[in-house]
Amino acid sequence: MTHTFDAVIVGAGGAGLMAALQATRGQSPAGTVPKVAVLSKLYPTRSHTGTAQGGIGAALGNSEEDRWEWHMFDTVKGGDYLGDQDAIEIMCREAVDTVYELEHMGLPFSRTPDGKIAQRPFGGHTREFGKAAVRRACYAADRTGHMILQTLYQQCIKQGVTFFDEFHVVDLLLDGGAVRGVAAVEIATGDLHTFAAKAVLFATGGCGRMFKITSNALTLTGDGMGVVYRRGIPLQDMEFFQFHPTGIYKMGILITEGARGEGGILRNNSGERFMERYAPNLKDLAPRDMVSRAMHTEIRQGRGIGGKDYLHLDLTHLDPQVIHDKLPDITDFVETYLGIDPVKAPIPVQPTAHYAMGGIPTNADGEVVIDERRTPLPGLYAAGECACVSVHGGNRLGTNSLVDIIVFGRRSGKALGEYVKRSAPAGLPADPEGQTRERLKRLREGRGPERVSSIREALQAEMTDKASVFRTAGELQKMLEVLTGLKARYEKAALQDRGSRFNMELLEAFELGCLLDLAQVTVTCALNRQESRGAHCREDFPKRDDANWFKHTLAWKRGDRVEIGYKPVVVTRFQPQERKY
């Protein structure tokens, strides 16, 4: 079945919904509002934006003086200087207006006593270029992401945005280097649909499910990144994967950094506030990469709780009313999954795979740029976690993922809307679904002894073991060999579900294929980058090496291999310095 739209947006989290609102906005004369379809493999309100807890950073200055220039500096420094400063400047400036826009849409922010949007401290956010922590994270209790997702979906309903819920996009259609649309499986029927479009925007989120301990949803399998990578478009900076310090022990479920923003403290087996040794100034509110490394170091040196691989997040000294009012959801998680009342007992936590700083390379208008010279591919856009602008550099600051999806969702939606107005429709390539039909057929007809779930479990355990907070050439090399083996097993995997309707097993097999490709890119790039920067920490190259590695990595698919290239980092206001907190 073929559908024709001006543009297709793939993914309905914060970035996709914001882009859809922007692309279809305006009371212009009939016919000039672009026809846009939003496709999601989930119902939009199930998207992972909804699980973001702590806040969205913007220098509103509602509780104390703040400036977007300080936010920009913190973001540059937090990213260990790998972020492109022109894009970071845009993000931090526009964050202020976009947060007001969210409020105007009805987002129920928590409020200050005088009725303004409430703000709290967050890791790495400071005043006056690093002097002290600043209250910059605008929040709605500890469900800020939930309220952003709900509010944007509400506005899409109000504006009459067209949704295709539970349509799983499995291919990008290109013809002679130009965008022609996407191919998608309708989950309810198993039918393959072609969406012809002049422009496509990917907003499919992250790929944290390549790791065992992760805060990411079961559905965060990097489909968008995987699809474009297979179509010859490079991925950028994939070696930079963030591990959030406070995941619930063994489960990986996130405990917001806002818990430390409200005064929570990390402690080791002797009750010591160990972050004082690692970041004397910001302590528990140092950026996530530093805190996660400090935690791993404590655990390795035998100071984990009871000698095990976890530490304590202590909120017991806080006013119970603060925990109840400002952190209700995490209180609920801790009670549900651990049987612990955080008012009375510390929470067992360990670092959890959280966020891909890398992704599909774009410029600040969300246009996908496909080479070292930043050449845009006309009509192709990406925004949110699946994209790499790059604003997060080597390590994302807390709250900046929400800033990213809102600011660049808006900018890319606007650019996409203008692009489709000025470009003519083009025909579909011959047999647009051919490749997808072949791929799905292979998956469906596998007859080997392997199950998708066992290959996926092996991938996740090995990645957490060999390619997480601390990395070495030896372990990464071993991981590449493991991946070769897993890919061979994947080719022989067999499905038990031979049906067409709601065949989730088939789609999980497709997702696993994406994860395997993306893990290969991540590990190859990690092995290639012989320095430590941001979240990428090589024990065999412990120092940042600006002379050789002050550059972005690009990775192309060349058959079964990954080819590496580079592009320069954009520096405007802040020259690289040593990173201390």
């Binding site: 309100t45 199930r46 007001y100 109000k158 998708v452 779930s453």
Partner: protein, 232 residues
């Protein structure tokens, strides 16, 4: 521990009617019911159909009837349930496969209450002011994740599928009691019908079913009162 699941299976492509099947999986006592379903699907029977995403009670994908009560499979631990753990789809919507139901009517009801801020005029340059007290007034109903657990536990909904249902009323409440909203009249008009709030018989099943701890019956009561008094 060894855990026995009893699942009400139904695939309209293959089955004439729903039937029970039993499965046994080795689990940790602190594992979620969802972990059990994933283990069954991954190791024993790849045809099992259920929705899930975030796996910690926020996305609202995996509401189902577990041991006779609507809950999120990711928010209940196996150690807290009697065995065998019996699972059925939520009641009142068409079953499309195993624990997946057709949510089209659910989201249609959601849309019917105009679930979006209706403004009285152009917004100020910065944020609109709202006192913490005014913000608190509708805090409870902002927690809704649209999982459907409340609506599909409601006897009034089971007997009258046209009833708006608790979830849609919760969404209406979230705006009716927001000091910034100017759409009270049109929203109340939608609910002031036989299939609106007046179908609610205050059975309280919805309160018990809500995985977010929303006092749904109270919210519905407040909407009824607003209708009786002509103001929210």
């Amino acid at each position: 521990m060894n855990v026995t699941f009893k699942l009400l299976r139904f695939d309209p492509e293959r089955d004439a009617k729903p039937h029970w099947e039993s499965y046994q999986v080795e689990m940790e006592p602190t594992d979620r019911v969802l972990d059990g379903l994933e283990a069954i699907k991954g190791r024993l029977d790849g045809t099992l159909g259920f929705r899930r995403s975030c796996a910690h009670g926020i996305c609202g994908s995996d509401a189902m009837l577990i041991n006779g009560r609507n809950r999120l499979a990711c928010k209940v631990l196996v150690k807290n349930l009697e065995q065998p753990i019996a699972i059925e789809p939520m009641r009142g919507f068409k079953v499309v496969k195993d624990f997946m139901v057709d949510l089209t009517p659910f989201f249609a009801k959601y849309r019917s209450v105009k679930p979006f801020l209706i403004e009285s005029g152009p917004p100020p340059e910065k944020e609109r002011l709202q006192s913490p007290k005014d913000r608190e007034r509708f805090d409870d109903t902002t927690k809704c994740i649209l999982c459907g657990a409340c609506t599909t536990s409601c006897p009034s909904f089971w007997s009258n599928p046209d009833y708006a249902g608790p979830a849609a009323i919760v969404q209406a409440h979230r705006f009716l009691f927001d000091s910034r909203d100017a759409g009270k009249k049109e929203r109340l008009a939608v609910l002031n019908t036989q299939d609106g709030v007046w179908r609610c018989r205050t059975v309280f099943n919805c309160v018990q079913a809500c995985p977010r701890g929303i006092n749904v019956t109270r919210a519905i009561g407040e909407v009824k009162l607003a209708l009786l008094r002509g103001k929210a």
